[in-house]
């Protein structure tokens, strides 16, 4: 393209310069003005930049990565993309002081169009922007189709571009793979990622390939790719998130948590990672880590694109779970929940659904603390409000919380009824089925039933092999997913009893057994497994007596 054409292109373009250093803003602004750029806006903070993008569409955004204490350039980019404030046809250039891209390397779908390293002069900036404008011109139809959500068209246009075999071929492949991925056509995306790496592996395509394999359930292959990327010093932190997800799906939750913690140390302000860390720590019963992550999520989430009442509610639920599990009635914990719910109520004053939901979660806390009457009173009030409003009745999250509260008061039948009704409306919502399995005595979801059969077979094999310690681990982990499952609890009890039969009475195991027995105290003699339960109880009792005798003898 001729120089004069480029000048004309700049005359029709608008730009935004984001830098916290006033002289730098002025300097870049002057450079852009010299290119003939018609409109040049500046912003000194992330907040200001996002606000400007809400009002105007910019063709070119030049953003410094390090903006002092506020949002980083990467966070701005993520927010703009997440909220569709940045078109694919526009360019986003990240300016960094680092000579490596390590510090700024975000997730694959949140990467800037180009990086520019400080210091740079007008001539270098111009060279880069010229090249970028040419690329954006060449790929304009594809990017426009993606902006319009017409992914099929974008995929077609990529084929046309690839057929030209020019310098934009690789970019076209990359966009095409991304479109397939967005359409959940993982095997097609995978093919492209493999194709572009025929000559040699490239990080972006390796990450893309690993993510496809992960989605396709090829966990071992995905794990190998991500582990290799980490071993090769690829510091794109998304790789840690991906490997953590592989481990999560493989049920290796402790390792998943470690990986997320490691990534959080390097880059502490990624809210999605903190949310995942909170979830996984919670499943690991690592309440300290879960709470820390939840608090961070609330702090980072305020005034961000991820802001929602859920940030506060998931923290409150985490404390509720902790109270239930540890059978703690600590008043300090009740205060913690109340405080965070109050914050949510204040913040969402005009959101009636959020306010009722806060009440319902509060009811769970009361129930956990043993104040069953108070809890029931709040639930009743909430139900009246829900009955009077279609909007409230239609809220999935609110209904789930209502079921949790009923469960906490001990009314598990009512909880199940509510959940099954909800599942009827949304049979494909896995979250609902998961919640149903959590509250039920036995798995009711198709997935849960499958899992139960699998667990049962594994357990049987372990008992047959006299691997009782492994059986304890297996059933213990399964109980985290299905905390009310009676069969699992009885199997865990059996494994504890058998193991102690081999190694002798053990204080920790007796305590654990007694915990399980307490959680089964609602089992009545009408239950088909009651007889078995009674026998196991007497065994645990015997081991407890043995312990007492041993300590006397010593």
């Amino acid at each position: 393209m001729q120089k004069i054409d480029i000048f004309k292109i700049y005359q029709r373009r608008s730009s935004l310069v984001i830098d916290d250093f006033p002289d730098m803003r002025g300097s870049i602004r002057r450079m852009l003005a010299n290119f003939g750029m018609a409109t040049i806006e500046t912003a000194s903070t992330g907040e200001e930049a996002v606000m400007k993008c809400e009002h105007d569409q910019f063709d070119i955004i030049l953003c410094d990565y390090n903006l002092g204490d506020g949002k980083s350039g990467q966070q701005i980019l993520e927010e703009l993309r997440y909220r569709n404030l940045l078109k694919f046809t526009s360019c986003f250039v990240m300016i960094t002081a680092e000579t490596t891209r390590k510090m700024v390397f975000g997730a694959l779908e949140y990467q800037p169009d180009d990086y520019l390293t400080k210091p740079f002069t007008q001539s270098v900036l111009q060279l880069r922007l010229d090249r970028l404008m040419q690329e954006k011109e060449a790929l304009f139809p594809i990017n426009q189709a993606i902006d319009n959500d017409d992914l099929d068209r974008a995929i077609e246009l990529c084929d046309d571009r690839i057929a030209r075999h020019d310098r934009y071929e690789e970019k076209a492949y990359r966009l095409q793979a991304r479109c397939y991925y967005m359409k959940h056509k993982f095997s097609q995306a995978r093919k492209i990622y493999e194709e572009v790496q025929k000559e040699r592996p490239v990080d972006w395509a390796q990450i893309g390939l690993g993510k496809c394999l992960l989605e396709m359930g090829e966990l071992d292959q995905a794990e190998q790719i991500f582990a290799e990327l980490i071993a090769n010093n690829c510091l794109c932190l998304e790789v840690f998130d991906c490997l953590a997800e592989v481990k999560n799906r493989k049920g290796e939750l402790a390792i998943a948590q470690q990986l997320l913690e490691h990534a959080s140390e390097i880059s502490p302000n990624a809210i999605l990672r903190q949310q995942q860390l909170a979830r996984i720590s919670q499943e690991n019963n690592d309440w300290d880590s879960a709470e820390k992550a939840h608090r961070k999520v609330m702090r980072l989430g305020g005034n961000s694109c991820y802001e929602s009442p859920e940030l506060y509610f998931s923290y409150a639920r985490c404390i509720n779970d902790q109270m239930r599990q540890s059978e703690s009635k600590d008043s300090k914990r009740i205060k913690d929940v109340e405080e965070v719910l109050d914050r949510a109520r204040r913040r969402y004053r005009d959101n009636s659904s959020a306010r009722v939901q806060a009440d319902v979660i509060h009811a769970t806390t009361y129930a956990n603390a043993g104040k069953i009457d108070e809890s029931k009173r709040i639930i009743q009030q909430a139900e009246q409000k829900i009955a009077g409003s279609e909007e409230l009745a239609a809220s999935t999250e609110l209904t789930l919380d209502l079921a949790r509260s009923y469960q906490a008061t001990g009314d598990r039948e009512k909880a199940k009824e509510i959940l099954l009704e909800l599942a009827k409306q949304q049979p494909d919502n896995d979250n609902i089925w998961e919640a149903i399995d959590r509250v039920s005595d036995e798995p009711l979801s198709p997935k849960g039933k499958e899992k139960a059969v699998e667990l049962n077979n594994q357990g049987k094999q372990l008992f047959a092999d006299k691997e009782y310690a492994k059986a304890i681990k297996l059933f213990g982990e399964a109980l985290r997913l299905y905390p009310n499952n009676i069969a699992l609890k009885l199997n865990l009890l059996l494994a504890l009893v058998r193991e102690m039969g081999v190694i002798g009475a053990d204080a920790n195991m007796v305590t654990r057994g007694e915990q399980v027995i307490r959680s089964l105290n609602q089992l009545t003699d009408e239950h088909p497994l009651y007889e078995r339960f009674n026998v196991l109880c007497s065994h645990v009792e015997q081991f407890r007596e043995q312990l007492a005798e041993n300590s006397v003898n010593e």
Partner: protein, 232 residues
């Protein structure tokens, strides 16, 4: 605990570097504005401009080695291999150093096929070339050339100048494989040493199978020095 301190230090380094780079950006851009806005430059003035520009760029390069070697020492220097249009990167180095060469009345040219692509870390390799060019500008008489081509499926990047050539001591050092047990900095020879060491280490981080990247210093039969970077 030591991890935390390491992280805190790493953050401190990052923010200091950011600050210094801002200053350097302002310095270099303002200098470019001044040079371009000053008509009728006397030889003396040009020489002074040359010194200002050369030293500012040198501070930047030293900062890059300092940071790079620090990260290497911590095993934190990742290499981001991607497919690169070599001519684009070279052209950028030309533009980047245009003023320096103009002030010193030196010709800077490149010789590279437009369609040549290769796999390497663009930012790191560009940083190395930039330093070699700045160095060449100090010693060249009239001209410096950058060449890029493929040889035995390897990418070769060459910077040739028509100066007095590299001293024997540097020739020896540049062609010895890096010895990690002796990573001290030789203060007598100054920053050139640091630059070479960094270049050699970065080249070695580029691997394909058993082949590693490397650097070589040569003196040309027709006179002048040649810096050669080979990447797999």
């Amino acid at each position: 605990m030591s991890d935390n301190r390491e992280n805190a230090f790493s953050l401190l380094v990052a923010s200091s570097v950011h600050d210094i780079k801002n200053s350097l950006s302002m310095l270099l851009q303002t200098l470019e504005d001044v040079v371009r806005g000053t008509p009728d430059q006397s030889d003396e003035l040009r020489r002074q401009f040359g010194t200002l520009q050369g030293e500012a760029v040198r501070i930047n390069n030293d900062l890059m080695y300092f940071l790079g070697l620090y990260r290497l020492g911590n095993n934190q220097l990742p290499v981001q291999i991607e497919s690169v249009y070599v001519a684009d990167m070279l052209q950028e180095q030309l533009v980047n150093n245009a003023l320096l060469f103009e002030i010193r009345n030196l010709a800077l040219t490149m010789d590279c096929d437009d369609s040549l692509t290769a796999y390497f870390d663009q930012t790191l390799i560009a940083g190395i070339l930039n330093n070699v060019l700045v160095n060449a500008a100090r010693y060249a008489q009239k001209a410096v050339t950058i060449r890029a081509f493929k040889e035995n499926n390897l990418l070769v990047l060459e910077v040739r100048d028509d100066g007095a050539g590299y001293p024997d001591k540097m020739l020896a050092q540049g062609n010895t494989p890096i010895d990690n047990s002796d990573r001290g900095i030789n203060f007598r020879t100054g920053s050139t040493n640091l630059g070479l060491q960094f270049a050699a280490e970065v080249a070695a981080l580029h691997k394909r199978g058993a082949i590693c990247g490397s650097i070589q210093l040569q003196n040309l039969p027709e006179g002048g020095g040649c810096f050669r970077l080979t990447l797999p």
